[in-house]
Amino acid sequence: MSATRLTLGRISRSLALTLGIFAGAALPAVAADDIWKDIHRDVFAGKAIAEDDGAVSLEAPYRAEDAAIVPLTVHIPASAGEVKSLTLVVDKNPAPVAATFEFGEAAGKGDRMLSTRVRIDMYSNVRAVVETADGKLHMATKFVKASGGCSAAASKDADEALASLGKMQIRTFDADASKEQTPPVREAQVMIRHPNFTGMQMDQVTRQYTPMRIVSEMDVKRDGARIFKMEGGISISENPNFRFTFVPGTDNVIEVTAKDTEGQIFNATSAKKAS
């Protein structure tokens, strides 16, 4: 399947180039819409989705520096009101849904931001789809040039990666700009050391694929109130990294519980007087 797609891609690039020489024009990408049609049907039950209506926006690099850590940032403005969930989709990845976030009360209803890093396997549309409280879907899309993100060798330092698995780090930020917002928001970052093996990384010595092992669930709370609950897939980068806004509370203690597909549980809490 993926081999066929590659071949198609190559041919279309050659074609586009050849035409480009004569006409200065390029052919549109082949079959991109069909993939999204399937995802739309399978993941969103074919429900109507409003595109670029201002309820959500997405920042992604047009050309990724590293296909295995492509930063994506989603903004949800106060005008969107209450938002139930956010789904990140990478159309052409083997498992297109990168992650789904269900927001809790501590996510607030002001200007919201959530940022993470994903793997991108080939040139693809990347989508942020939010479901607002009224049950309507809204989407922002970006095209990203990157490839090989899912099969790229796991770690730059393979021993270090396994030795530190499960280590977590939580930071909170006190940016002046976000304090001035009404209602006020703060930012936090949750990082977890985890290889997030995609199951597509082959060990040539054993001729075996390293079995999939990913952080599948993560629950993030502020002073006991949920900010979001994440369900993750293989497209989330090694060492999953989430940065997000939340509504400040009294202590602003961030508490994280994560679980991977091996059933291992990881817990961490930010220092009390978060700086």
């Binding site: 190559r10 041919i11 690039r13 050659s14 074609l15 586009a16 180039l17 050849t18 035409l19 020489i21 004569f22 920042e59 690099p61 050309r63 520096e65 590293d66 296909a67 295995a68 850590i69 930063p71 940032t73 940022s115 890093r117 040139y123 040039k145 990157a146 490839s147 090989g148 099969s151 790229a152 060798a153 796991a154 730059k156 330092d157 393979a158 021993d159 270090e160 280590k167 780090q169 930071r171 930020f173 940016a175 930012e187 990082m191 050391r193 990384q201 082959m202 060990d203 040539q204 010595v205 390293t210 060492n239 990294n241 940065r243």
Partner: protein, 359 residues
């Protein structure tokens, strides 16, 4: 008038079929037109972009004109005798292209009384064969060792050309794992980058492994092989010719060519400090750069680059900046000091950021 009018008429008739023919050719041969064009935005560039983690084999943007060689690969590589019995071929400051056949890194050989050791073999079977020809033009002694300084394709893909000589292939104990987990990708992408000049290339992993130190003897000539903690990659190995004090650093040392970070920036900086204190080294051979460099000043520029990147990235992390913000701004003061900066720098910053945010 008449003649040109006639030609024009014929041309109009023929033109559509010319286009059709070119289209067909382009489809048949994948994209020979693209490579002939040498445009930075050619499709091969897109494919190459995919290879970023191969480091030495990334995109097709043109290096500065003065650095670009347009010659295709000669039958025997040009080598320089940097110290008695120590020969180095200087690779081009280029990304992999069909024209350079993957001749983009330095490789060398050392001739002892009884045997020869090869250090890195270039980026394709073809480069390896041209290196072998250069060796055979100078000695008929057996090639007892082929040593790889690390996993990157531009240093190991020529190994296959030495197979018939039955040498012992030597590398860092972590090299087999590093190669095996990247093999499919390395092969697929480099085949695309090098086109026909990739023919015959396969991955030959080392069988003699160095986890700490190993001394080998070429006959009245001892070489000290040392494995290092994670720096440029997690499988770096240096080779010291004890007789002349010549140290082959592989990609632990870049000169002029923008360094490529595929290991640990903290580890690399720590290792540079450690190496700079060594008294047994007189001459350095970089993995990318001139054939040889004075010691220890050879390390200065690279140390400045890595320190600048680490410093800027640490400051941005402290200020709460994001990975994408850092990629566009950190370390930009180094821009004019290096070749292929746009191809490697932003990726180095991303890698440094992902590492240093855990401090």
């Amino acid at each position: 008038m008449q003649i040109s009018g006639h030609i024009e008429h014929q041309f109009r008739e023929v033109f559509p079929s010319v286009i059709a023919l070119l289209l067909a050719l382009a489809l048949l041969f994948h994209s020979p037109l693209a490579t002939a064009q040498e445009s930075p935005s050619a499709p091969s560039g897109d494919a190459q972009r995919a290879t970023e983690d191969l480091n030495k084999s990334a995109p097709a943007a043109a290096p500065s004109k003065s650095e670009q060689t347009t010659e295709s690969l000669p039958a025997a590589l040009k080598v320089e005798e940097v110290a008695p019995g120590v020969f180095v071929h200087q690779g081009r400051y280029e990304l992999f292209t069909p024209r350079n056949s993957g001749d983009t890194s330095n490789n060398g050989f050392i001739i002892g009384k009884d045997a020869v050791a090869v250090i890195d073999t270039g980026g394709s079977a073809r480069v390896g064969a041209a290196l072998l020809a250069a060796i055979r033009a100078r000695t008929s002694l057996p090639i007892k060792y082929v040593i790889n300084t690390h996993m990157h394709p531009d240093h190991v893909f020529g190994n296959v050309a030495f197979k018939a000589e039955s040498p012992t292939f030597v590398g860092n104990a972590k090299l087999p794992r590093a190669l095996s987990s990247r093999a499919d990708r390395y092969l697929a992408i480099n085949k695309e980058l090098l086109g026909d000049s990739f023919a015959g290339t396969e991955i030959i992993p080392p069988t003699e492994l160095v986890s700490n130190r190993l001394e080998i003897d070429l006959g009245d000539r001892k070489l000290l092989l040392e494995a290092h903690p994670t720096a440029h990659t997690d499988n770096d190995l240096t080779v010291l010719d004890e007789k002349t004090g010549t140290l082959f650093l592989g990609d632990l040392l870049f000169s002029r060519h923008t360094p490529a970070l595929d290991g640990s920036i903290r580890g690399w900086l720590a290792l540079i400090d450690k190496l700079a204190n060594r008294q047994d080294v007189k001459l350095a051979v970089p993995g990318h750069g001139p054939a040889s460099m004075p010691w220890p000043s050879a390390l200065d520029a690279e140390k400045r680059y890595l320190s600048t990147v680490a410093g800027d990235v640490r400051r941005m992390i402290k200020e709460g900046k994001t990975l994408s913000e850092a990629a566009g701004t950190a370390g930009m003061s180094e821009k004019d000091a290096w070749i292929l900066f746009n191809e490697y720098h932003a990726r180095n910053v991303s890698a440094a950021f992902a590492e240093l945010e855990w401090e």
